[in-house]
Symmetry: C2
Subunit: 463 residues, 2 copies
Amino acid sequence: MNVILCGGSGTRLWPVSRALMPKQFVKLFGERSLFQLTVSRNAALCDRQCIVSNAEQYFLAVDQLHELDQTSGSYVLEPVGRNTAPAIALACLALAADELVLVTPSDHLVKDQRHYQQVLDKGQELARNGYLVTFGVQPTYAETGFGYIESGEGFTVKAFHEKPDLATAEEYLEKGSYYWNSGIFLFKAGVFLDELRSHSPKIHDACVKAFKNGIHGEIMRIRHEDMLDIPDDSIDCAVLEKSDRVRMVSAAMGWSDVGNFAALHDELPKDEHGNTLNDCHISVGSRNNFIYGRERKIATIDVENLIIVDTGDALLVSRKSSSQKVSQIVDRLRAQGNGLHNIHLTGHRPWGTFTVLEEARGYKIKKIEVKPGKRLSLQKHFHRNEHWIVVSGTATVTVGDEVRLVRPNESTYIKMGEIHRLSNEGRIPVVLIEAQVGEYIGEDDIVRLDDDFERTVAPSESS
Amino acid sequence: MNVILCGGSGTRLWPVSRALMPKQFVKLFGERSLFQLTVSRNAALCDRQCIVSNAEQYFLAVDQLHELDQTSGSYVLEPVGRNTAPAIALACLALAADELVLVTPSDHLVKDQRHYQQVLDKGQELARNGYLVTFGVQPTYAETGFGYIESGEGFTVKAFHEKPDLATAEEYLEKGSYYWNSGIFLFKAGVFLDELRSHSPKIHDACVKAFKNGIHGEIMRIRHEDMLDIPDDSIDCAVLEKSDRVRMVSAAMGWSDVGNFAALHDELPKDEHGNTLNDCHISVGSRNNFIYGRERKIATIDVENLIIVDTGDALLVSRKSSSQKVSQIVDRLRAQGNGLHNIHLTGHRPWGTFTVLEEARGYKIKKIEVKPGKRLSLQKHFHRNEHWIVVSGTATVTVGDEVRLVRPNESTYIKMGEIHRLSNEGRIPVVLIEAQVGEYIGEDDIVRLDDDFERTVAPSESS
């Protein structure tokens, strides 16, 4: 069983990643996300997958599995995140005690599949013998952003170390017995749960209770109040640092946590001047720049070692060596009460996507894409009228008691107060332009009367 | 008479300025363009104004004069540009021989109005005595991008010099008798025309012919074939370098040609770290950067001396000291056949503006704003249907023989092939969203049957 942890909402790649579109789901490598690469990598090694995800985001995982033509797999949906120890425990509670569990982050890169497999084979031997196996990556430079594992005799572990300062990291690098903690673990489900009970009984017991009360099925939902009762802790602190059944396998597998833009720049193809290959880029005398953008033309003149990230609503220009300071920008945005750290102009919903094309006093224009077989909630608005113009696909539109098809180049109109629903009963996506007109066009002007996705409270954004 | 030369189509401020929105019309200084600042500056000194402009762009000047509550003023419209000598000659031919003419560029900045007036007073004395007066700006550094005037005894001029190399510019700076050529001139109309006839008779005669054949009125239009017959030359080469009636007044008036972003950065207000004041900007440790952008958030981390220019469809990041290389980017875009050097996402038309919100296979979404009292051409399309949703103002829509009002939150639909027209007969702007749907949505799919703005050929963009 491969347990894939998808709870991360990292903002170290802002403005590419946002709280509602975390790094693991962004298609950083061609048409694939780190999540998809993780799934594919481990599908070759494990027969089953369990995805532990925030309940609000799991549809992103579902969509991306579809793109891989993979529709099986189980889910544990957490209403709030409680760090890795509870996430792993909730997944393990559904398994037989002696089932081997490979725990992987969903947002790391492993480039050497052959070595990866060899390393896991080694780990499997140890795990079968009842050990909690960690995988340590030999450091190639003095990184201060990772935790370190200090290895002992054989596969034993002397100690786990928190993120060091630079001097300490240099010391670790020199000593040679310190490894980066890759966040990949391998063990029997029962061994992990036993060790959790021994060393962090509160977490264990709260997880057992939450699991019992949960809504079971292929998609397991944990209840909100149960999740809140679980203490927040990492597997490292809750179990590994305290257990004597921990072993480490050193792993040379081309690993990267892609934790900032400088790291991402290392992993992407570059032109002869060291700039990221990008069709949007036009350079005069520029070198070694990370250039990210998909729509706008990006012209650079005589600049070096910059990070330039261009998205629909935000632009980042940073010195490459300062790329870890992106979090300071995100903190500032959050403090300003600005939604930019949270959402993109294009938002993902279980039924598809919407993109805000234009917003001004009295109106808002959106492009809405509804996936085949999906429908938005049955809803009404008090303060806005909506015009829908279908440009692709065939929409099924319910207004009041009337249901009608709206074909490409046809339009329809929903008066304020009317109960309506937009569905795609066809085989190709419905693309439509929505013009909202009204004195108040805030997203909270929505009353949901029925919803396939069990959303009843007013959303942060749209339909 | 103040003759304002508006023919420039500079691209040194790309992507802010484009061929169809040249530097003089961009609102670089708060809510005012350099053209507007020029008009206001000289309105205090001259009783009348004549604007010499490209025929395709003069409505930009009309609009911006309206914003200054100025509706008078005459125009000379050139179908193609022929440099400054013909532009000035065409304006002078309409004037009495002894009328004083102040010729000014429309895209320069003069910050010291009091000194400017003093300098012009001095020039006026000389001009009344039959001299061609130039205004020289004392150099403050070794600029290689300007022509220089070498002054002699009194107000005499020894020589005009082309743009120097750096060593020569440094020599000029040291000698103290070399001045930047400000492009401002003062003379009697007749004196200029006499000197033009003496030194460049071909230009003179071609201008006289073009003037005679022109369509006269407050707006004088030169015929295309006549304009093509006029040799292309600057006033400096055609007259000033050859005439012995030239005098120079040295001008300390806070002058800048705002010829690149570094020069613009000097003129704009900055925060305590030397970054341009900009509400869109959020800085961590960044210094001395020129930041231009109006919509997207622009985050910078630890960068210095950069030019960052963010527009709807293009982004520029340049080392500040390389800002004169912007022209290389423009050349590359032109070579790529890319329209980005030419137009913005928002295009200006005599009737108002349009903004492309979204474009994809089979459809295009635009926001269209029609000024009060204006209307688009009577037109039809063969390959696209158009949906119009009015969000502000009241539109008068003609489809075939039928005329109807479309009010805010109402929509209408124009089937392909139908003859239609959009007018604003109201007092406030009409804002509408246009969804074009069809297999072919190129801008050249338009047949114009009638047009208030005498445009009959297919346009580069829209309606």
